[in-house]
Symmetry: C2
Subunit: 367 residues, 2 copies
Amino acid sequence: MKVDGIPYRTIWPAADDPGVVEIIDQRHLPHRFVIERLASVNEVAIAIREMHVRGAGLIGATAGWGMYLAAREAADVAGLRAFGDQLKATRPTAVNLAWAVDRQLAVLEPIVGQQARVEAARELAMTIADEDAECCRRLGQHGLELIREIAARKGGKPVNVLTHCNAGWLAFVDHGSATGPIYAAFEAGIPIHVWVDETRPRNQGARLTAWELGQHGVPHTIIADNTGGHLMQHGLVDLVIVGADRVTYTGFAANKIGTYLKALAAADNGVPFYVALPSSTFDWTMQDGIREIPIEQRGNEEVKYMDGVTADGRIEEVLVTPPGSPAANYGFDVTPPRLITGLITERGIIRPADEKTILAAFPEKRS
Amino acid sequence: MKVDGIPYRTIWPAADDPGVVEIIDQRHLPHRFVIERLASVNEVAIAIREMHVRGAGLIGATAGWGMYLAAREAADVAGLRAFGDQLKATRPTAVNLAWAVDRQLAVLEPIVGQQARVEAARELAMTIADEDAECCRRLGQHGLELIREIAARKGGKPVNVLTHCNAGWLAFVDHGSATGPIYAAFEAGIPIHVWVDETRPRNQGARLTAWELGQHGVPHTIIADNTGGHLMQHGLVDLVIVGADRVTYTGFAANKIGTYLKALAAADNGVPFYVALPSSTFDWTMQDGIREIPIEQRGNEEVKYMDGVTADGRIEEVLVTPPGSPAANYGFDVTPPRLITGLITERGIIRPADEKTILAAFPEKRS
C-alpha cells in the first residue's frame, strides 16, 4: 500500500546490496516513517524481538528473510539450524515465525553448497512474502463483495466500516486482513469511511491503522474504543471487520482485547460482524476458544503510561494514572461464533462461522 | 471520604474566613492534590466553567455556595439575580446548576436586608450540600445489601465490582453514586475489589476513580475499557455499578460513552448490571432515551492528546495519533432498560428498571 504516494511493502530486499533486507521500523509510527536496514541474522532477531516488525504475516515473512541472511552467514547446515533456533526464540508464541524458519530449513538442509543454499533461501523468502501478500489480496477481493452489496443499498453514500486494532498491511506484507476488503473497495472506487478504534492500551488503531489508512488516502476517523456501541445504535456503522490472532476450527476468534464487546454491540444492533483471516490463523486442534485459548497478560506499564509527541516535537512518555494504583493488562479476548456473521478467508467467505462450514471450506483439515 | 487518611468533602466553607469557600481543584488529580480557595462569585464561575469541579451533585453544591458568595457581594435582589445568571451560564446543560441557583433565589428574593439574605444563603448552601451527601449515603446503604448478598455467596472471597467513569464522591459532595455502595461495603468490612475502567478519552476512571478509591484504601485495579467483557467471560466480575447523567422515567440510562458496551457484556454473561443515581438524575419527560437524549460531541483533542507526568515530574501533553487523522469524540451513550438489572436510588432499589417500577417508586411524579 502507499506511503506518501509511493507503494510499499512492510519488508523487501534492498535494491543496492544483496546482504541487506529493509523493513519499516514500526516502533516510530505514526510520528516518524523510518526504514531500517537489516544486514545480519542478529539484526533480524532484534527487529522481531523488539517489535520493529509485528503481526503474524509480517513476522513470518521477516523470519523467511532472516533465514536468507542466515544462509549467507552460515557455512554449513548446522550453522543454519543454529540461526533458525535463534530466530525462533525471539517471539516463541508467534506460530508463523517457527513455521517460516522450518519451511526454509526443510528446503535448505538437503542442498549442497552455500551459494546454492543462498539462492534457494532468497527465492523462498520472496515466495513466503509473496504468498502472504497474495493471501491478503485474495481475501480482500472476497470481502470487497460484502462492501459492494452494502454500497449498492446505500446508493452512493459512504459505507462505514468499523475496525479494531491493526489487522492492516503493516501486520502483513501487504493489503492486510481486516483492511484487505477496505483497500479493495477503495481501489474499486466505492465510497468508504473507516471508524478506527484507538485500541487501548497499546493504541495500535490510533497509531498504525489510522496512519496506514491516512497514507493510502482512505477516509477514516479515530474513536475511543468506548464509542462503537453508540455509533451502531444510531446506524453509523454498516459493517465491522476485525482480524484475529487465532480462530478455532469451531469458530471462536481470539483477537485484541475489546473485540468481543464490539461483536456484542454488532449483534444487538443487527450490524454484520466479520473476522478476516488468512487460513494460517486457524487452530485445527482447539474446540472451546473461551476455555482453551491462553490469554497473555502483559506489563501494566502499557496501561499506566502513554507516549506521544510534545508540542515542541520531542517523543515523551507520561504517567496517566495515580502512581500507586495497580493496573491489569489482558492482551486478547475471545468472541464466540454465535456473534460472528462470517469469516473472510482467501478461499472465500465462510458463513455462518461454525465447525461444519469451516471444515467444509478446508476439507483437507478433517482428521 | 478520605484523602491521605483525612476525611474530606469536595466543597466546604473555609474555617478561617466567612468570605471563602474551599474546593478540591480536580484538574490536578491524580498527580497533585490541590485545595483552591474561592472568594468571589467570579471565582466560583471560573471553577465551574473550567471544570475545577465537575459531576452533577458537586456542580449543584458549588452553585449553592456560589449564591452564598453572591448574597455577600450583591446589595440587592437584582444583583443577586445577575450573579445567578452568571453562574447558570457557566455550564448551560448542567441541570443541577440551574436548579441550585433557582432554589437559592426562591428563598432569598423575599428576604429583606442583605445580612439576612447572607445568613439564609449560607444555611441553604449547607443544606444543598448535606442533602447531596445524604442522598448518596442512603443509596449506598441500599446498594450495600446487593454486595452483602454476593459476599455471602462467595464465602469470604472479595466481591469484584466493575465501574465505568467517575461516579465517585469527587462527582458529588461525598460518598458518590456508583461508589456509594462500594464505600458502604468497604466500611462494613466486606472484602471488595473494584475493576476501574480507565474511561477514554478523558480518563476519569484512571484519573479520578482510581485516585479516590486508592486514597480511601479500597482495593482496585485499573483496566483498559476493552477489558470488561473478557473479565466477565471468565467469572471475574460479580457486579457492575455505574452512575448516570440522565435516566428517563422509562429506564433508559445515559452515561459516559462505553457504558452500553459493558451492559451488553453483563447481560451476555449473567452479571448483574446496576445504575446508581440520586433521583434528581431522573428525566420525567423523555420516553425513548436512545432517540431523544442529545449526545454531546466534544473536541477531538481529547482523543488525540493525553496528558500526564514525565519521568522528571513535569506535566506534559503528548499527541498520540497521526497529526493528520480526524477523530470523533461522543461523550455519552444510552443503555436501554432491558440491559439494566436495577436502579439504585436513595429510595431503594428499583428492579426491573421500567416505567411502571420507576413511577411506583416516585408516585409524586405521575402526571
